[in-house]
Amino acid sequence: MSDATLPSRRLPFPAALRRWNIAVGALILTIVVAGALLAPWISPYDPFRMASGPRLSPPTAAHWFGTDELGRDLFSRVLLGARLSLGIGLAAVAAGLTFGVSFGLVIAFYPERVKGLLLRIVDVVYSFPDTLLALALVAFLGPGAENATLAIAISLIPFYARVTYGLAAVERAKPYVEAAQIAGTRATRIMRVQVLPNILQSLIVIGSIGFSSAILSAAGLSFLGLGVQPPSPEWGSILASGRNYIARAPWILIFPGLAICLTVLSFNLIGDGIRDLTDPKGRQRRI
């Protein structure tokens, strides 16, 4: 395939919203983000105050999601949980993306021999599931929100590095990079000024994929007691404390779980939709 037949990677914004998966994903995400941002103003109760209502009360008009074992309002807790989950996700993805993309770019510009070795190392780490990597790191760093975020960020690096390397290697082989090299431009400058802007759009897609896995990992770690610690209402940690009451109060289980599912689903839908739009193979198949 010559360069001329490659479809443009640019995404027309309104057209993107016409795809059902992007539209639905964006809608869910908007609601979750709005809930997270407005949590302090729209929470009907203080999420930490015990005995806001009766203990283990099922959903009522006063407590939309019911109350937990200490009488705390579950709706307020799930709302604040959105803040924690999205915050951890954002921090982990930002850090993971920064380091991963840097590694990927650097590897693409190394001489053949070093490249092979570095790539092998990335592949080795990448062959382990990210949840497991995060788990192993937290085991040594110790439990807590900051350490969990750090561990998740590190666990995302191999994925981002691998994908960035793939994208950068393609760009590197193009004539404009060669021209810049002949003109004597330093490799770091070529990476930053020429290659990075050209792969940025694809990086946004993998950013959204990382988000869903970061949120799942954060919830999993908190559920195991290794992430966000109670009484902070991270969704995973609400589930961990609600676990003992699942027979009497299934609502403690249902609402935070649905919150995780919907948030992760929104990122997956958006990622899928953008991939459909940018994947030339997928496009050809539809014709």
Binding site: R120, S127, A136, A139, L141, A219, R243, L253, I260
Partner: protein, 307 residues
């Protein structure tokens, strides 16, 4: 073929070595003095305990020597002893390995049994309602946290309907955790089967088979499914690795007595030798399985060997 096998085995050996090395290095991430941190957790630390552990880890030596000591110990089959109870780590973990393998195989079997038919249905009905439904289920599947699905299953099937025991490690108990792992991971299998089969159904030889007047079922089962399954074998390794990752949490949800449950207990109790041992044994299992599947793939598809 021989060079392919040799190269694959060498990579596996190097990977395992890297993991052992990492397990030896990572303990230095522990904030402060690891021995104090470990013993603080178990409470009754005596001077003798501190001396024993300091000697065991060579903590009076520089970091690189400690790491080398750990690596050489592991290579000789010595994973150290636990902080709690001073038990040898290796037999403790290996004793739990069968339970973990049984659940992993059951989970993988469920994932394939659900995912492959879903992928076939989607591919055959491409662009129609059935395809859309399957793909929707698949994307929901990757969005649901396994531990939450597990808790929901316990609530509904064990507590509400009373069909299964809530927790434990027996033949009856395996159904819910295997189903949880299977459903979550069937999504990837379904996607892979679908895209492999769609590619193959567009091939010329399929058109030829249809032109020869073969029935559609025969075309699908005999001509299309076989090569599609080869593609599926490639993702089985990936699915298996991810399944083992998810299994750590699932074992905890269902109180399944596998390595994952032991590992989380060790992490919460800061029993670092046990955590290191878990990393080594778990990672080695993943490497062995993915290597075996790679070799199988090379056996099935000669083109792979040349890469």
């Amino acid at each position: 073929m021989l060079t392919f096998v040799a190269r694959r085995l060498l990579t596996a050996a190097i990977t395992i070595l890297v993991v052992v090395f990492l397990a030896g290095v990572l303990i230095h991430l522990v904030p402060g003095d690891p021995i104090t941190a470990m013993l603080a957790q178990s409470g009754n630390a005596s001077a003798a305990d501190i001396a024993r552990l300091t000697g065991q880890y060579g903590l009076d030596k520089p970091v690189w020597q400690q790491t080398l000591l750990y690596v050489s110990n592991v290579l000789q089959g010595d994973l150290g002893t636990t902080i709690r109870g001073n038990e040898p780590v290796a037999p403790l973990l290996l004793g739990r390995l069968p339970n973990t393998i049984i659940l992993a195989v059951a989970g993988l079997g469920t994932a394939l049994a659900l995912g492959i038919p879903m992928g076939v249905i989607a591919a055959v009905n491409r662009g129609r309602a059935a395809d859309f439904a399957v793909m929707l289920i698949a994307i929901l599947g990757v969005s649901i946290p396994g531990f939450w699905m597990g808790l929901t299953f316990i609530q509904f099937f064990s507590l509400h309907l009373g069909w299964f025991p809530v927790a434990g490690t027996s033949a009856r108990n395996i159904v819910l955790p295997a189903l949880t792992l299977g459903i979550v991971h069937s999504a990837l299998v379904a996607r892979m089967t679908r895209s492999a089969l769609i590619d193959i159904l567009n091939e010329d030889y399929i058109r030829t088979a249809r032109a020869r007047g073969l029935r559609e079922r025969e075309v699908l089962m005999v001509h299309a499914m076989r090569p599609a399954m080869i593609s599926v074998v490639t993702v089985v390794g990936l699915v298996f690795a991810h399944l083992l990752g998810g299994q750590v949490i699932t074992e905890n949800v269902f109180s399944w007595n596998g390595i994952g449950r032991l590992a989380i207990q060790a992490m919460l109790q800061r029993d670092y030798p046990l955590v290191q041992g878990f990393m080594v044994i778990f990672a080695t299992s993943i490497v062995l399985v993915t290597t075996a599947l790679d070799l199988l793939y090379g056996l099935l598809d000669p083109r792979v060997r040349r890469r």
